[in-house]
């Protein structure tokens, strides 16, 4: 099977990939192995991404994982739409972690963007991980639908449909041009004959698939742009959905651990007897920087851990605290030696040229935790030179590669079963997940499969946090109250230039990155650098509007390109929010506009401050231009959820360091916004601009914090320049 098939997806990816990363991604034998693992006798498999069973059931294999973003359903919609499949018989499954399912479309998508000079919109952290982890099945960068869907799923669906038509033409002895398709049936109107996809699939799968099939134009789409119910939701309301932590395999043990409180510290000594004395505890395993207790269940394992008094070194970081991080960042910036820079025009000359108005301000944001609801859990079974793993992380092939290396095995001897995930928000990139090495090390020392679960306390204190960051903003206005120059000097671990987008037209702009690395494991956090950069830029442009004595919405307008998508989004948000209409005394309106992952979002927030100093959000209006929405109802959910998460962050969330260790150890120390404080109204509106598709999982996040603090400024006159807001409005 598949001998004649051209692996068109691989070919395209290899070309893009070779240019971008100097590697090729998969070969025909890998595709065959992939389909060997999924396609059963009697079924027809197409380019590995989908198969059709005799009863017409279409199964779509998603290389991207599900951690709540709903892209499994969207990907199935895209393949099924091009295929003209009967939606009621479409299923979606997680693709196995095999090289044949390496996500070539992702590489092609990112490669295309870079080839068109759009690489600066990409998250550097994601790209660098891509480059390290090929072949990849990664989920990140809000890429699932716009790349995997647009490239792999739609093309495969369209090419499979053409193959089904060719096979039907052959069997019916009629020209292919006389055949039509709908609801998984090929029909010949003139003769009244028809064939079901299930009858055609096996033979059609032997045909050469079109390398570049025509895709539907929007008016012909029957599923793309509609909102069928998500396929994963029924199992998430009756308790049957199986997450990584739910895995149960025969004779399994459960383990938990305590890690060095200070990242970078090592285990110096531990007396394992108190843990072994706990009924149910079976092993105490020492790792380089942790102690693992293996028991008959989680509770005895946890009690065993709590009974231990391990001694850890502090890796030389014992003096670090949050104030020291700020001080170090301020000192770095004062040194004026930037590590990276971007922008255009001569900012220094503009600053020196007797500007009419000069404004400067310092901003700070803290480390943030992802706080995904499912703590890390990974089950590993090492037996006779083979390793079997059950886990949900963002890139199953990287998991396989890393686990093989940790176990000293070849990748072929490692099997990864990928589960769904209880949230991620950037925390589940394998490169940031110590649990892989830990679970493998434990499995190699145990005769049973072992499920290693991180307690919430370990999960909180050993995150891969959104970096603590600070920025100095400086801008100037000319006599006409227009911005003449804008500088953003920011200090943090990663350069944000590759990924963050600055929307405003200003003659001279400068962005300078000063690299600061703490001992913490920084990582991508939902919307990555756009969280802090969005806050800096959208707060400061509000300050500049105030300095100019202008309305913040109108001031932004004047610095956006006429006729641009950005202006259309901003205008629509202002219109829908009733910008300028009267508000109750003490309530203010704030606006913010941020483009991230090629999606433009403007948000308007109405907020006030309670007498006790607690900020209250009354209404959020969001307008989103992501080009095209595949499943508008799910896209709305992603934007709403992103807004709720971002408001939580702006109001209360903060990871701090003391003596080199993270202070916040559980939800009691790290308050996450609850239902009572969620805005009563979140109005999300999409502009279907038809522009190239942008991401949807992340872009709702960045505008919300500055829209809120801008609203609070409008309400109170107090400018918030440091997040979280916490008790900054508390009466003295």
């Amino acid at each position: 099977m598949g001998v004649k098939r051209r692996s068109f997806l691989i070919g395209a990816a290899a070309i893009a990939g070779a240019g971008v990363f100097g590697v090729s991604y998969a070969d025909r034998s890998a595709r065959r192995a992939a389909m060997g693992a999924t396609v059963k006798p009697g079924e027809g498999g197409f380019a590995a991404w989908l198969k059709i069973a005799p009863d017409d059931t279409v199964t779509v294999y998603s290389p991207t994982i599900d951690f709540g973003q709903g892209s499994h359903t969207a990907l199935a919609q895209m393949a099924a739409d091009e295929l003209d499949a009967d939606w009621s018989k479409v299923r979606v499954e997680q693709a196995p972690a095999l090289p044949g399912f390496a996500n070539s479309a992702l590489v092609e998508g990112f490669g295309d963007e870079m080839g068109h000079g759009m690489g600066k919109h990409l998250p550097q952290a994601v790209l660098s991980m891509l480059a390290r982890s090929a072949p990849i099945m990664i989920t990140g960068g809000s890429s699932a639908v716009r790349y995997t869907g647009q490239i792999a799923m739609r093309r495969t669906g369209a090419a499979a449909r053409l193959a089904l038509i060719e096979e039907a033409a052959h069997r019916l002895g009629v020209p292919a041009a006389e055949l039509t398709t709908a609801n998984s049936v090929v029909s010949h109107a003139r003769s009244g004959r028809s064939l079901r996809y299930g009858e055609l699939a096996v033979a059609a799968a032997q045909r050469t698939m079109a390398g570049n099939p025509a895709l539907k134009v929007p008016k012909d789409c029957k599923l793309i742009g509609q909102s069928p119910a998500r396929l994963d939701i029924p199992a998430k309301v009756d308790g049957s959905a199986q997450y990584g932590i739910d895995v149960i395999v025969p004779d399994m043990r459960v383990a938990t651990l305590v890690m060095a409180p200070v990242r970078g510290g090592k285990l110096e000594s531990v007396d394992d007897k108190p843990a072994l004395a706990v009924p149910g505890v079976e092993r105490v395993i020492r790792l380089d920087d942790a102690v693992v207790v293996v028991a008959k269940g989680y509770w005895p394992a946890r009690k065993g851990v709590l009974a231990l008094a391990p001694k850890f070194s502090d890796g030389g970081h014992g003096a670090l605290d949050s104030a020291a991080v700020h001080a170090a960042q301020d000192k770095l910036r004062a040194g004026d030696k930037a590590d990276n820079s971007g922008g255009s025009g001569d900012v220094d000359a503009a600053f020196a040229d007797k500007p009419h108005t000069v404004v400067e301000a310092d901003y700070r944001v803290p480390f943030l935790h992802h706080a995904m609801m499912e703590p890390f859990a990974m089950t590993a079974h090492y037996n006779a030179g083979k390793l079997e793993l059950w886990v949900g992380l963002q890139d199953p092939l990287s998991v396989r590669k890393m686990a093989a290396k940790a176990a000293g095995l070849s990748e072929e001897d490692v099997t990864v079963h990928t589960t769904i995930m209880g949230g991620g928000f950037g925390r589940r990139f394998p490169e940031k997940c110590e649990i892989i090495g830990q679970a493998v090390a434990v499995a190699k020392q145990c005769p049973w499969p072992v499920k290693l679960i991180w307690s919430r306390e370990e999960e909180f204190t050993h995150g891969s946090y959104r970096p603590q960051s600070s920025a100095h903003l400086k801008a100037t206005l000319g006599k006409d109250k227009r911005l003449t120059a804008w500088r953003n000097d920011y200090v943090q671990s990663d350069d944000a230039e590759q990924e963050t987008h600055f929307s405003y037209q200003i003659p001279a702009t400068s962005r300078r990155h000063f690299k600061y690395q703490s001992n913490q494991n920084d990582g991508p956090w939902r919307s990555v650098n756009s969280t802090q950069q969005g806050f800096y830029n959208e707060s400061f442009i509000d300050e500049m509007a105030h300095a100019a004595g202008e309305d913040p919405y109108q001031f932004r307008r004047k610095h956006l390109a006429p006729g641009s998508r950005h202006l259309a989004v901003l205008d629509e948000a202002a219109k829908r929010a009733g910008w300028g209409s009267p508000l109750p005394q003490g309530t203010g309106r704030g606006i913010a506009l941020v483009e991230s992952f090629n999606t433009i979002v403007a948000e308007v927030i109405e907020a006030s401050v309670d007498p006790d100093g607690k900020p209250r959000v009354h209404k959020v209006t969001a307008v989103v231009d992501c080009g095209t929405t595949v499943n508008p109802r799910n896209a709305e959910a992603q934007v709403m959820g992103g807004i709720v998460m971002a408001l939580s962050v702006a109001l209360d969330e903060e990871i701090t360091l003391d003596k080199g260790a993270v202070v916040q150890a559980n939800f009691g120390d790290y308050p996450i916004l609850k239902l009572a404080d969620a805005p009563p109204v979140i109005d999300v509106h999409f502009i279907e601009s038809g522009a190239p598709m942008g991401g949807i999982g992340e872009p709702g996040v960045p505008p919300a914090p500055p829209a809120l603090t801008n609203a609070l400024f409008a309400a109170t006159g107090k400018r918030i320049r440091q997040l979280p807001i916490k008790d900054q409005f508390k009466p003295a």
């Binding site: 308790g239 739910d246 209880g422 009572a676």
Partner: protein, 164 residues
């Protein structure tokens, strides 16, 4: 020690340490994994079950304290014929879950609230629904509770879209 209790209508015997949280007895001894571990300190509500009809955070209830009581988990909400509980159906209709991990607990909390309050007011919903959802599904949780209690015609319709 041995603890006897009812779980989802079945007489169940638990053997083990009396301080074992109900959560882990349910998950590891009974294999009912729909009840989730979130924090271990009763702060997040992912482990919410009903004990004699009252919502409880099972991570912080020792099994020894539920001897002789009736426990209902998410798996026990369906009718004996397998039909979804109206609140579960409302959750599907409103397309509430994203990652879904907290939703067993959210649904158990909502079922308990509705059993007590009938048609809960917005203030009652705010007061009772204190479980954490990191995906931020709260607007749709509100909509689903209203829909399940006949207080809203349609939960979260397809959002408006328009041409540029």
């Amino acid at each position: 020690m041995t603890v006897e209790l009812m779980v989802n209508g079945h007489a169940t015997r638990f053997e083990g340490e009396s301080d074992t949280p109900l959560l882990w007895a349910i998950r590891e001894q009974l294999g009912l994994t729909g009840t989730k571990f979130g924090c271990g300190i009763a702060a997040c509500g992912a482990c919410t079950v009903h004990i004699d009809g009252q919502p409880a955070r099972s991570c912080s209830v020792p099994i020894g304290e539920v001897a002789g009581k009736a426990v209902t988990t998410i798996e026990g909400l369906k009718s004996p014929e397998g039909a979804l509980h109206p609140v579960q159906q409302a959750w599907i209709d409103a397309q509430v879950p994203q990652c879904g991990y907290c939703q067993s607990g959210q649904i158990m909390a909502a079922v308990a609230l509705i059993a007590k309050a009938g048609k809960p007011t917005a203030a009652q919903v705010d007061e009772a629904m204190t479980n954490i959802c990191r995906c931020g599904t709260y607007p749709r949780i509100r909509a689903a509770i209203l829909a399940a209690t006949g207080q809203a015609a349609e939960a979260s319709p397809q959002p408006a879209t328009g041409a540029a």
